[in-house]
């Protein structure tokens, strides 16, 4: 049973990958702990910060602290955009 995490923009550089698979169920605090264990403190601090938004299965989440990942979910971390 797994879900996917997607790192956009410069988060991909911080994570060293554009996406990883994680075991579920997984709540927000456990997710941060998992990232802390396997990746840089920079990544954890950035994804937990106010400037990074998250989308669960393509829908933006207002309160990322309430996220609980289930089988097949895709959670994307979205740093500030810079288009055009």
């Amino acid at each position: 049973m797994s879900a996917k995490l997607v790192f956009l923009g410069r988060l991909e550089e911080l994570a060293g990958t554009d996406g990883i698979s994680v075991d579920v169920p997984l709540g927000w605090a456990a997710l941060l702990a998992h990232l802390e264990e396997h990746y840089t403190p920079d990544l954890v601090e950035t994804v937990a910060g106010v400037r990074v938004k998250v989308a669960l299965n393509g829908a933006l989440i207002a309160e990322k602290g309430g996220v609980v990942l289930a089988e097949g979910d895709e959670l994307a971390f979205l740093p500030p955009v810079s288009g055009g």
């Binding site: 997607v6 956009l8 550089e13 994307a76 500030p80 955009v81 810079s82 288009g83 055009g84």
Partner: protein, 146 residues
């Protein structure tokens, strides 16, 4: 109807604008904006990344907002994703309206919102090194005008 496209390969802005114009003979005015990769300052390439579940749907929502705010005959929004070289087109917006003021304002609004709210992440290659580009303060000031 709006024509909103997210492209992962190059496009010909002149041909697109020509086709858009031909499709809207009833419009008295067509305003367009073309954004291209700036040459100079050591820029070797620009890359825009997008996220499939969000990027195109949000561009379509933006087009709907523009259509709701100004009386347009047509709206064209084309945005590139992927690696582009200097002088290559990144974005083309065109608005067709009976009268020019609606067309100017709609194209301006669409561009400001594409720049600051669309789901794109940009990095630039200079001296063989890729560097992510953070949003500019000016982009937030631009959007605050509306």
């Amino acid at each position: 109807m709006s024509d909103v496209r997210l492209l992962t390969s190059g496009f010909d802005p002149a041909a697109e604008l020509s086709a858009f114009t031909a499709a809207h003979p009833q419009a008295g005015g067509i305003v367009s904006f073309l954004g291209q990769v700036r040459e100079g300052a050591g820029c070797e390439a620009l890359e825009l990344r997008h996220y499939d579940p969000l990027t195109l749907p949000a561009m379509q929502d933006l087009a709907t907002r523009v259509r709701g705010r100004w009386a347009l005959d047509g709206l064209l929004v084309i945005h590139r994703s992927g690696v582009m070289l200097p002088a290559e087109p990144i974005v083309l917006v065109a608005a067709a309206a009976r009268h020019r003021r609606d067309a100017f304002a709609a194209a301006d609004f669409a561009m400001d919102h594409l720049k600051s709210e669309s789901w794109f992440w940009k990095r630039e290659k200079t001296g063989g090194q890729w560097r992510w580009i953070e949003p500019r303060e000016q982009d937030f000031e631009d959007i605050a005008r509306w």
